[in-house]
Symmetry: C2
Subunit: 357 residues, 2 copies
Amino acid sequence: MYSYQHLFNFTQTIFERIGLNEPEAHQAADILMRAELRNISTHGLVRLPEYIRLWKDQRITTAPDYKIVHETPSTAVVDGGKGLGLVTAPKAMDLAIKKAETAGTGWVAVRNSYHFGIAGYYAMKALEKDMIGITMTNANPLVAPTFSLKGMLGTNPIAVAIPAGAEPPFVADFATAPVSRGKVDEWDHAGLSAPDGLVQNEHGRLTHDAAALRNGGAIRTLGGDRIHGSHKGYCLTAIVDIFSAVFSGANFGPTVVPTLGYVKGKDGMEDHGIGHFFGAMRIDAFQTKEAFKKNMDHWIRTFRAAEPVQGEDKVLIPGDPEREAEWINREKGITLSEKTIEGLKRISEELEIEFDL
Amino acid sequence: MYSYQHLFNFTQTIFERIGLNEPEAHQAADILMRAELRNISTHGLVRLPEYIRLWKDQRITTAPDYKIVHETPSTAVVDGGKGLGLVTAPKAMDLAIKKAETAGTGWVAVRNSYHFGIAGYYAMKALEKDMIGITMTNANPLVAPTFSLKGMLGTNPIAVAIPAGAEPPFVADFATAPVSRGKVDEWDHAGLSAPDGLVQNEHGRLTHDAAALRNGGAIRTLGGDRIHGSHKGYCLTAIVDIFSAVFSGANFGPTVVPTLGYVKGKDGMEDHGIGHFFGAMRIDAFQTKEAFKKNMDHWIRTFRAAEPVQGEDKVLIPGDPEREAEWINREKGITLSEKTIEGLKRISEELEIEFDL
């Protein structure tokens, strides 16, 4: 168990050491630590070694040429200049919010970026301004469209944050694949089987072998197979890919230059990074703030009061479990996996930062 | 097998007979016939008896007070005045397109509307203007959120249409539940079992009994159960409900006043109809039209060239099967189910329109 503030300071120091200025490093640390607080540790400090490796390989830079390359009153395209996603993405989301202030809504597509942590972080930035926030991103191609032999799409998350009044906000933040890549890797490392219907092997056949992903296999789309709606999952993940990467001019689908050792890239591929898509909508672009919040409270209370099936406690409101985890973890401290601790130790040695944990 | 033009004229005549003017009736017929052409017959002429019944019950009117009740440069809320969805929805989508012309994007939420046919129809309207089109709607509460005993959400479809250049457009149009309500009803009428994992009975337990929906059961969300990502399906369907109904002030989730005989409504429920959400984004709000279309062609060709698993023909591009069906059906004619024909005969008698088929 580690203190939140201690880990935060350590993470910020790492980002400062590789060249981010103080506010950028603070922002980047805040994003990763928010994942730890919200029990989404697959997107937290475990990612630091990958960021450091990409920086060493000069695939990302801490002094990027961030620029707006195209815009209308309600839209923009940002070129992240191969900066860290954790630096580029907050700026792009702020731009979407600024557009929404005048146009009612703002929509920003980003290219030449990299992994940006939890999608929900950016969507939630809109809440402070009484706006709805939307985030999407594409990722390493590990998800097989229906009937595809190979992984062609990322696990491409969507986050949607919607303000309420007396109730806490609705915050949905989910990989559009049934399971995240990080989760399959966890099963693999722990020697566990993958549950039925989630992973296919290099021949496209369903398998329980969690190592299949490292060996040319792929994750199925949400739905799993045709009869259970896998084509809908494919549509959804494809839409996120197009909004994130085609709108912005980033690398899409299987053309994403992998950041994972075990995903094979094609030599000579042009690298425009991965793409993100951010949206902000003023709630008073649709109703008065008061009416909107009252309606949203009504929605949340109606679903929270739903009768659960026998054996289950309740119907969850998206965002409730993560928010409750935040309260607990901020107070009690954060548990890190062995893999995460090893990674942090390695970084502390490489960058000569004291890691007294 | 019926001629396309013949059925079109008959349908238009029905709509004129209940009070729509000629262009409105033509538009409404076009929407239903487009569903027939695209082999989405669950949203085609089989729906006509329901529309007529709602009109007779004075739940919908053919002379609605359609009005824009709220707006910003990129958004609006429309009150459909309890008009037919087939009349209100095209106008609302046109408004989204008009907003996009000046603001880059346009977003319109609609209340006091009813069933609007296939969501894809409206999304595809944007294509003619070199825009991306987005459509959502809520519906009768028949889908159970993860762990819920009862249906609380509709099968809430999303449609996204994205222009390409030399390639035909990408058109995804799908109920966010793994299976549509119409499909389960078809199994029920045909005495067929529902496949594994799609339907739960009135006790919340999985069942193969397709009649369960009529007896207090519900459709599961996309994913089916927690381990296969049903909570993601729940999030997705909930987002569509909120965008459609909370943004607009329509009836959301379980407060939707049912239009299906077998869904129990609560007495005294205020009826603000169902809600829709429409979006239009100019492709040149993100890139030059030429660059966007070239990138989208590249995306489509990459996925069309994906290697299929053994035993399958190819990886499909969303919209391809429906577009191919349109070519064939427009030429060869349209097959109607017995149920649809019975419904049309009944209407032809009631409204005294000749039905010589």
